[in-house]
Amino acid sequence: MATDGLALTSDERDLQSALRAMLAGELSSAGLRAALETDAGYRPELWSALASDLGLAGLAVPEEFGGLGLGPAEAAVVLEDLGRVLYPGPFLATWLATTALLATGDAAAHQRWLPRIAEGTIAGCVAVADKAGSWGQAADAVRARHDERGWRLDGARWFVIAGHVADVILVPAVTDSGLSVFLVERGADGFSAEPVSVLDLTRKVAIVNLDGAPATLLGREGGGQAAVEAAEHALLLACAAEAAGGIGWCLDACVDYAKTRTQFGRPIGGFQAVAHACVDMLAHHQSSSAAARYAAVATARGAPDALLAARVAALRTGEAYRTVTEAAIHLLGGIGFTWEHDAHLYYRRAWSSQQLTATPQAHRAAIAELVRL
């Protein structure tokens, strides 16, 4: 890919500073923890504000439907900052659902749902993984049949991010014609989303059960592959951008601590072992942020290396996030191992996000294929 345009544009910088200003006031550690105690796991007021003041609910929704009409590069800018504060609301899930919905090319569904998504009145999610967590291998974990009243889905989807709150759920299912994408509305007969205990306290995950649940086919029957791939590609970008943000938080927390914590009569940041650990975090932050950016811009431009870049970014930032959060807890010492310190929330996110996206082995297998080994 040509490398110009990799620096943030002035519009992107404006979006970034508006978002930072809003988050700084709203999402303190205490505020975040209070939100995590609720059933939803996030504060609806903040989500409404992000949706109405900044238009984030409709970030990817075309302007004709009332959205911002922005692409993956801008989404990654937003996700990096949301990842930095472990934002627990349904931005990611809604963005993935919007991406998949757009990829189905279903004009009627766009008319019906996109304006409401852009308003922030409904949240979306995608329900793709099977019980093993695979997005690709076991599409038939949900099967679709057509009866006199329309399409019905049977089966289950696992590890559904924001499945417990989403109003519209995009579900790939197999019909006689192959993989197709359906939309299920919350509250439909035979639909249930069951929240499960999760390692990452800031990201609730549900099991979606479909027992003859009525559904709308999106696009062509048997033509669901493109939407699933678009959502998966978007998830790779999101995982990388959020990791870059979280690593940035760890870096700042550790550097701050290394300057103020004294032992043996001096700030611990003056010890070479501690200083080098901080520099290693800086290196991870720079490369993770750059990889997330590169992959998002390549995707926005439809560059030939876009999918490879997204895989590389997800693999490397996923590993870096785990490494850095572990190193951060170590560097923070005893205080870093307490419940009160936020470090464990990032550690939990790092481990969770990596596995919910794809295992490193799956990324590597895909990379070897993509470069045609």
Binding site: T3, D4, G5, L6, A7, V255, A258, K259, R266, P267, G269, G270, F271, Q272, A275, H276, C278, V279, D280, L282, A283, Q286, S287, S289, A290, A291, R293, Y294, A295, L308, A309, R311, V312, A313, L315, R316, Q361, H363, R364, A365, A366, I367, A368, V371, R372, L373
Partner: protein
């Protein structure tokens, strides 16, 4: 030229100019690489045969002179010093174009043009810039850098080579080491001690005539078996005061500028389109070893490729930010650390793919040749500042941590 040409106009003119003078690269060389064809040489350090290297020098100088005469010698340099006054993007576009032609190239001039010339540009007097920069960019003069000493490695401020003032000139005595290209250079940027103390304020930078009486250059054979560097002995060598760069006692800042450029050059070095990190070369290696269906090797391969791409994306994003005016500070040295890490990963991967064919020459193309990378990799971690010294600098200057000890 009264007004600045557009980038397209410039590129078109430059392509025409190159096509008139130099043959096109054969297509296989342009795309970079075909397994089993041509030389299988892979190297971390350039260790050319000294005779061939000396023979190639006149052509390199002629190439630079041609460039200079036609306004391509220093495209982005200030007009006042003989530069073209065009944006840096024009320089990059020209460099990309040159890869399509069989030109002598600038690989022997990395230090001269990439490190010493920008240092003179930053710290030299107007008179020195007017005098030296056209000479360096036109290839009339080639420069090396004389920094490290046997007793001053990581602790560069401990240099012991002494310069003593004597009227309008200085007399220098001392020993420098790890000097690339000293045997080809006309002048050397040298850091000398000019006072007993205080530390960092007792150093002064000069340009020494490498052919002056009292200068002795000896090749330094490193663990690869080749000699990419030299030792330089200076015995009461005279340097006119007009060749002092910066103020007396200000040599540390001058040295830091040069080292900044060195680290950035090392960090962004791609080792050529079909260099040691080429995806095509590595795919060829795995296939030739018959291991392209081995799931473990495929995982290791993808792990390495992902690390190489990560380093490339990081350099690209940093470069784009620099273009947008957010110039990188000392953190650019992180790219150099990333590259030496990748060098080690590469050596390990290649060893696991080749097995004993790496360590005993079975005659296979692209097998035993990799020993050069295995042997060169440890040196890349040392050159331009060790990982540890670079991290100390970044901790202090980027993160604002106390001086590490």
């Amino acid at each position: 030229m009264t007004s600045q040409p557009s980038l397209e106009e410039f590129t078109q003119q430059a392509a025409g100019w190159l096509a008139e003078r130099y043959p096109k690269m054969p297509r296989s060389d342009q795309s970079g690489f075909a397994w089993g064809e041509g030389s299988d040489e892979v190297r971390v350090f350039q260790e050319p045969d000294p005779v061939e290297e000396a023979d190639a020098l006149p052509a390199i100088r002629r190439w630079r002179q041609e460039l200079w005469d036609h306004g391509y010698g220093w495209i982005a340099g200030p007009v006042a010093c003989g530069g073209g006054g065009l944006p840096a993007a024009y320089q990059r576009a020209f460099e990309q174009l040159t890869r399509r032609y069989q030109v002598p190239g600038d690989s022997a001039l990395t230090i001269s043009l990439g490190m010493v010339a920008p240092t003179i540009g930053r710290h030299g007097s107007e008179e020195q810039k007017q005098y030296w920069l056209p000479r360096l960019y036109s290839g009339a003069q080639i420069a090396c850098q004389l920094f490290s000493e046997p007793g001053a490695g990581s602790d560069l401020a401990a240099v012991a080579a002494r310069a003593v003032r004597s009227g309008e000139s200085w007399r220098v005595t001392g020993q420098k080491v790890w000097t690339s290209g000293a045997h080809l250079a006309d002048i050397g940027e040298i850091i000398c001690r000019t006072a007993a103390g205080p530390r960092h304020k007792n150093l002064t930078a000069f340009l020494v005539d490498m052919r002056a009486p009292g200068v002795t250059v000896r090749p330094l054979r490193q663990m690869t078996g080749g000699a990419a560097f030299n030792e330089v002995f200076l015995d009461d060598v005279e340097i006119p005061d007009s060749r002092r760069i910066g103020d007396e006692g200000a040599g540390w800042a001058v040295a830091m500028t040069t080292l900044g450029h060195e680290r950035s050059a090392m960090g962004s070095s791609s080792f050529g389109g079909a260099g040691i990190f080429s995806t095509e070369r590595l795919i060829g290696l795995v296939r030739a070893a018959g291991k392209d269906a081995d799931p473990v090797i495929r995982q290791d391969f993808a792990e390495l490729i992902s690390q190489l791409r990560l380093a490339r994306y990081t350099r690209d994003v940093m470069a784009a930010r620099a273009q947008a005016g957010q110039a990188p500070g000392p953190e650019a040295a992180l790219n150099k650390i990333a590259l030496s890490d990748n060098m080690r990963r590469l050596a390990g991967f290649v060893a696991n793919v080749l097995g004993p064919a790496l360590v005993a020459d079975t005659g296979g193309w692209g097998t035993y040749a990799w020993t050069s990378v295995v042997l060169g990799a440890p040196g890349y971690r040392l050159g331009g500042g060790t990982d540890e010294i670079l991290k100390n600098t970044i901790a202090q200057r980027v993160l604002g941590l106390p001086r590490p000890s």
